[in-house]
């Protein structure tokens, strides 16, 4: 399969047009496929080797556990996302990444990556773009938890996921398949699962979105965007487009 049609290729492709050589370089990076089942951490504290992955299929999430047992999900990862970049650069891993569904990911070795950086400055730029996009997502997440109420926050997350999935062609126009449980949503949004349930019901009763049977369907996209104060600029979908 053409790399440019993989989620990773699609995502980088939004930022720049890949040349044939770059596509080749990319496939290189994108081999060494591994499978992960639910319950096996992909990245965890104190793991033996520094590894990073490109998620090829399935969803994952990175999180931190507090001493009291509470957990905060830092981010959800979808196909095309780069996992564990940070733990590769800093030499400590202070968070875990686990699959949300069965997942496949390509392992990326530090050495290969730095080689690719040398070979292709444009690819490097694209990676920097991806990294700062991740940081922007993290920032937006912080803003949501800090200053939006439960309903706005939840709506915002659903809209963000929709936009991100669109980039890798995993949505239809007004819905997407979503494997997250209400517990996972709660741990990401800083809410209890019970309250997530209530909020989803309210959103449904308001005729804005439904999330049932693993499917998120937008009934009133404009209304939801207004409620969540959602501005997709931070996702930078159009990219700056080198070339």
């Amino acid at each position: 399969m053409n790399v440019t049609q993989t989620p990773f290729g699609l995502k980088l492709g939004a930022f720049m047009n890949l040349t044939v050589e770059e596509s080749a370089e990319l496939s290189q990076l994108h081999s060494r496929r591994k499978k992960f089942a639910h319950g096996t951490d992909m990245i965890y504290q104190g793991q033996p080797k520094q590894a990073a992955y490109v998620l090829a299929s399935g969803w994952a999430c990175s999180y931190r556990l507090l001493s009291g047992g509470e957990r905060q999900i830092i981010s959800f990862n979808i196909p095309g996302d780069f996992l564990g970049m940070r733990s590769m650069m800093a030499h400590n891993t202070d968070h875990n990444i686990e699959p949300v569904t069965r997942a496949e990911a390509s392992e990326v070795l530090a050495a290969d990556l730095s080689q690719t950086f040398k070979n292709s400055p444009r690819f490097t730029a694209a990676m920097l773009w991806a990294i700062s996009r991740d940081e922007a997502i993290l920032m937006e997440h912080l803003v949501g938890i800090g200053r939006r109420d439960a309903k706005e926050r939840t709506a915002h997350l659903l809209l963000e996921l929709h936009a991100r999935l669109k980039l890798v062609k995993m949505t239809s126009s007004s819905s997407f398949a979503c494997p997250l449980t209400q517990y996972l949503l709660g741990d990401a949004l800083g809410l209890s699962a019970v309250h997530v349930n209530r909020v989803l019901r309210e959103l449904r009763e308001d005729g804005l979105v439904t999330f049932q049977h693993g499917e998120v369907e937008f009934q009133d996209l404009k209304g939801l965007i207004a409620l969540a104060d959602f501005d997709s600029d931070y996702l930078d979908q159009n990219g700056v487009l080198l070339n």
Copy 2:
């Protein structure tokens, strides 16, 4: 003055021993001094040129405003911090940075920076370390707002600031000068200023910390660390020490 004694030099020095050449390279980057008064944004949406700064003196903060007028402070910046790295890499600025006190900062041009990256791989590594440290701080901030209550969160922030300031020699063993208002703390912690006030009072009454007249004094450091579940690992103070 020797660059290695500036906050920036001290900070990078925690990560690696700077050679004479690297120090020179660093001074280069660290010229072009600018002053900022309270109320003038250093970095803001739609600004004309891509700029980044190394904060030399004073405090700053980066924040985002919501449409409703609420604001969320993303991070506080202290001397030695690199500001606006992200807005330099991605070509959009989705947040503002403003000084908290009078501040001086050295402007860094994109061209100079990439030149320095080429000249010194070790310096580049140190910068990557600094960037991922910032991201770790952001993550910890997210965890705090999502899963810690007001008291724990506040305590955690004070401890973090203490640890970060220690690295640039701006603390005494159990206290530090803190120019933040309760409004700023609230906007960072996702709390109202009124509640910050109450929380600070409780912490004081518990005999843990006092924050009065611009001075934070730890009365019972161990107790506070226990309360906040503070683990300074994420600040990676010791660095990995190249050489």
